[in-house]
Amino acid sequence: MKGTLREIFLERIRQALGRSTLQPVEPLEVDHDLVRRPLPVAADASRARSELFTDRAQAVGMKVVTCQRTELATTVVNFLTEAQISSVQISSDPIFDQELIEPMQETSIRVVGNEIDLDTLYDGIECGITMASAAVASTGSVMVSASDQESRLTSLVPPNHLVLVPTSRIVDDLFDLSISPKNPPSCVTLVTGPSKTADIEGVLITGVHGPGMVQIVLFDG
């Protein structure tokens, strides 16, 4: 961008504000805690957080199943079998390589990674499986972030999205999310429900462009 154009543009704003030079700005102090609503301190905070998250996620139309770390593979395979899903795309999180690919393939589910071409992704894959980078109890949201392991399209293109959420990654509220302002991921998405519309006469339809079904697998870890 040309320095001059930028100067003209900023100068217009400054003039409108009635100043000729940039004034130092005192950050605004407001009571964010009025909105934040931390959970009451319970004897078992982690459990309370998981329960609230489950409630809220279900309230916005996502499905939640909870399991132990050791049951993770069985839970995922059971879900896919019951939903009659025979092809999945997985993210590159090491947990898949270590624990999930084999049991899925044993049940003759086709498992592909990010190497596939777009046509296959759009037409041939029934479910995208990703790892959540965080989850928010107060809103029931799951956070997925673009990285070297997580693609943007895996959680978007297939009609179903299965997302793994370790209980340790659930935070009370949006305010407790840690996104570094200095170097955030290129794309962070808070998923709060399946894709929806009510554009036609207010009738609620799920699965418009994004996944119509979001299955959360919440596990100890």
């Binding site: 704003i13 409108a16 940039l22 305010f175 302002p181 290129s186 554009d199």
Partner: protein, 489 residues
């Protein structure tokens, strides 16, 4: 894309952007006669208005008003220091690899987008919902340049293929029914006729998936800009916004300068209010925080991210302290849903992309009051919009201030005498009592015993044309108070 040859119009003028001086009264008269439209708009707005109240109360209890005022403070603080926060945002965004463009007016904003698309040899653009691009009328410009541009939000898509215009900030096709969608899909997409919303949605989904796959450029708006990180925040429900910002190799966002907030803490607070106020959801299905194009290590995402910051009249509003707070609007549509005038007049009567109370304020400010002299009249000043606004914008105050600007002339002799008398009556207890009993008597003579006046005589008939006048109680409050033994003065 094939368009129906005759564009829909109101009163001989285009639905949006009427050419001459715009008069909401004559335009609203057209929509008041459409009973289907009246029913649809009443139902949708009433439901959303109730949902907003319910979920805000459930989430924040008695603190709702205090939270609204904090949210308003955040927006006002940012706007009072817009020079600082915009500059900070630009620096951080550029550091993250975003290419920032600055547009003083609509033409410049459109030109920048068309140029980027041309540079990429784009044949197809997919676009998600954005109010500012409606304001600049970007899509016709892209199409004129030979670049097919498809709206992908379901409502906006239907509106585009039916050559219609949005009539609500959040529910763009609130004025259309399923039959018109069915007809448009048969005509424009060659689909089989169906009125089932589920089937219609499926048809649009399949059609648009092909577009995402082939698109060269994705265009979006932006709900917020986060100064501390240089991020763009998009709140959507259908997933089309995610497609537009993830699938094509180039992403261009067009955003008004007033969208900036200082930091993530402020963003979280506003996100807690935005979707609750708009649709009654805790958050929209997808809240995306986008900071620069895909990183080297990322697996996908656009290789280029452009943001066009648009002024287009915003600095003019900024310069006027009386109206500056209107720039705090987060476009949730709550004031439209709450407004008794919007519910009857409906969106297209406002002749602008921004309708309802916020439209009645910012359209004259953005386009000039001389072109829209009657818009500030489109309010009963009941205050429902102010009460509904999540960022506490005092819309009634600004509507009155705008009305004052349109009243350059002194009143006629009759008006001045009338007002002089009114002042006398209201400033004397005795006069007031006498006047009130005369009024009660005169009105009961006119109605002949009924409790409401349906048609007033002579010059008063204008008032009762669209409404009934409910008569005051037979006995005055003072009298009843006195009879119940209350203290009297």
């Amino acid at each position: 894309m094939n368009r129906s040859s005759t564009p829909t119009s109101v009163d001989g003028e285009p639905i949006l952007f009427p050419r001459g001086t715009h008069d909401i009264r004559s335009r609203a008269a057209v929509f008041l006669r459409d009973e289907t439209l009246q029913g649809a708009v009443r139902e949708a707005t009433t439901l959303k208005d109730q949902a907003r109240r319910d979920v805000l109360k459930e989430a924040f209890g008695e603190d709702v008003d205090q939270i609204r005022s904090i949210a308003g403070e955040i927006k006002r603080h940012t706007i009072d220091h817009l020079d600082y926060y915009i500059e900070t945002w630009i620096d951080r965004a550029e550091a993250a690899g975003t290419r920032v463009h600055l547009a003083i007016d609509h033409e410049e904003a459109n030109r920048i987008v068309v140029e980027i698309a041309r540079e990429k040899n784009a044949k197809l653009c997919v676009k998600s919902k954005s109010m500012v691009t409606e304001e600049t009328r970007l899509v016709p410009q892209l199409e004129a340049a030979g670049i097919e541009t498809v709206e992908t939000d379901l409502g906006e898509f239907i509106i585009q293929i039916d050559d219609d215009a949005p009539s609500h900030i959040v529910m763009p096709m609130i004025h259309k029914d399923r039959k018109s969608v069915a007809r448009a899909f048969v005509r424009e997409l060659g689909a089989e006729y169906t009125e089932e919303p589920e089937q219609l949605t499926r048809i649009a989904r399949e059609h648009l998936r092909e577009k995402y796959r082939r698109a060269d450029v994705g265009i979006s708006g932006g709900n917020f800009l986060v100064a501390e990180s240089g991020s763009l925040v998009l709140c959507t429900n259908e997933g089309n916004g995610r497609f537009c910002t993830s699938a094509p190799p180039t992403h261009i966002a067009v955003v008004g300068i007033e969208k900036v907030v200082p930091g993530f803490k402020d963003l979280w607070l506003l996100l807690h209010l935005l979707a609750r106020s708009a649709t009654g959801q805790p958050l929209t299905c997808y809240s995306q925080i986008l900071t620069g194009p895909r990183r080297q290590e990322d697996q996908d995402g656009p290789t280029e991210m452009h943001v066009v910051l648009v002024d287009a009249g915003r600095t003019r509003i900024l310069a006027d302290p009386e109206f500056r707070e209107s720039l705090g609007c987060i476009r949730c549509g709550a004031c439209l849903n709450a407004c008794p005038v919007y519910r009857k007049a409906t969106g297209h009567a406002y002749g602008s992309v921004y309708s309802g109370p916020i439209g009645a304020v910012i359209t004259p400010l953005l386009q000039g009051l001389d072109k829209n002299p009657t818009l500030p009249e489109a309010s009963s000043l009941c205050g429902a919009c102010f009460e509904a606004c999540p960022v506490n914008i005092d819309l009634p105050r600004m509507l009155v201030a705008l009305r004052r600007k349109t009243r350059k002339r002194r009143g006629t002799l009759g008006e001045r005498i009338g007002l002089w008398w009114l002042r006398r009556v209201f400033s004397s207890v005795l006069f007031y009592r006498v006047a009130a009993s005369i009024q009660r008597f005169a009105l009961s003579c006119l109605t002949g015993g009924s409790d409401r006046l349906r048609a007033a005589p002579g010059p008063l008939s204008g008032w009762t044309r669209d409404r009934d006048l409910i008569l005051p109680a037979r006995r005055s409050f003072r009298k009843r108070w006195h009879d119940r033994g209350g203290a009297s003065r």
